[in-house]
Symmetry: C2
Subunit: 212 residues, 2 copies
């Protein structure tokens, strides 16, 4: 009994440690993919740059992902998950009036971009710019992702409507769609100019234009 | 005399033909640069792809441009020149009410994108996305270019103001800045979705939000 028990314990521990290492390496690759792909986009980012930053050998990479295409797809899904949480954190903050939540989200985005010295924009925006060079399955995934983000802004605008900050007759879905189209432009322009101004200009213009 | 004259004539003609060929080859390279860089951006476009499409040998390229960096800079300037003419054509069309001019510009942009099956967006937008990887002198040039485009939209909005379509107190420069931030997002999204919808949504949202 004792023998069996002591034999099993280290075995379990070793297997657990291996599983953890597998998860950690995969997560590390995804995290570095998110960093590099939000900086440089898909086409310009070589697998070598990712492996070098992660200090993971190429053979090991193919243990986790079938190809760069497969990797990019998972990076995109991870970015979406990260970003939905961020949106929910700000836009569902019921302690704050609804339009202020949108302002808070923009403030957070400004800090995020400044922290990375405006080298990183939006992964989906980057991918959009180079979509012609991307695998075909990326495009519908990108549309789904943006749609999910739009829903969150639409819900926030509906809350603003309930609070009397937006006109009753306003189409919040349409306004949210308009917001995301322009917001991606604002992030792009902030990256281009290396300053937060365009994000402020866009938010103010959007809020000023809301039907009240 | 006769001999000199006949000797000079073909020489002149040959020199003229050579100058023409020089101009034509340079213009051809710029035109192909505009095509490829609006499709793929700067980083992803190899010099080889440009030379191949132009059927110009590499040695010959360096007769016209110092480097890919120098080439990209001139492509950007040529794109700006082309685009300013396009803006002036639509936005200064005094036969048309001012806000309709903006609608006409958007219609033209939609046709342009459809014609190229949404593979081409805006060269400056593309460059903005990858600005971190671009030569330093590109950034101020891009800002100057966008500023010149903003001025044209601002003038159009001022005309709309004079025609009573925009409120007297509205800041047309600020609105034009807002327009260009969002418009680049609309072009990006249209490219991403391979359809004109985002350009319509953006224009409508912008016009709906104008102070009247």
């Amino acid at each position: 009994m004792m023998k069996n028990s002591t034999q099993i314990q280290p075995g379990r521990r070793a297997r657990a440690a291996t599983s953890l290492a597998v998860i950690e390496t995969r997560e590390l690759l995804i995290r570095i993919g998110m960093e590099l792909l939000t900086e440089r986009g898909f086409t310009s980012t070589g697998l070598d740059a990712i492996l070098k930053r992660a200090t993971v050998p190429k053979g090991s990479f193919y243990h986790y992902f079938k190809s760069k295409e497969d990797f990019g797809y998972h990076v995109m899904q991870a970015y979406d998950e990260y970003f939905r949480k961020k949106l929910d954190r700000w836009l569902q903050d019921e302690a704050v009036p609804a339009l202020q939540r949108l302002r808070n989200f923009v403030e957070d985005a400004k800090h995020g971009m400044a922290r990375h010295r405006y080298t990183r924009g939006c992964l989906i925006g980057n991918f959009g710019q180079e979509v012609g060079a991307l695998p075909d399955l990326y495009r519908p995934a990108m549309n789904d992702i943006l749609f999910a983000w739009e829903l969150r802004v639409s819900a926030c605008l509906s809350a603003a409507q309930a609070q009397g900050q937006v006109a009753q007759g306003a189409d919040c879905d349409a306004l949210a769609k308009y917001f995301w189209i322009g917001w991606e432009g604002a992030v792009l322009r902030a990256k281009m100019m290396q300053q937060p101004g365009p994000m402020d200009v866009f938010l103010q213009g959007f809020l000023d234009g809301l039907p009240t």
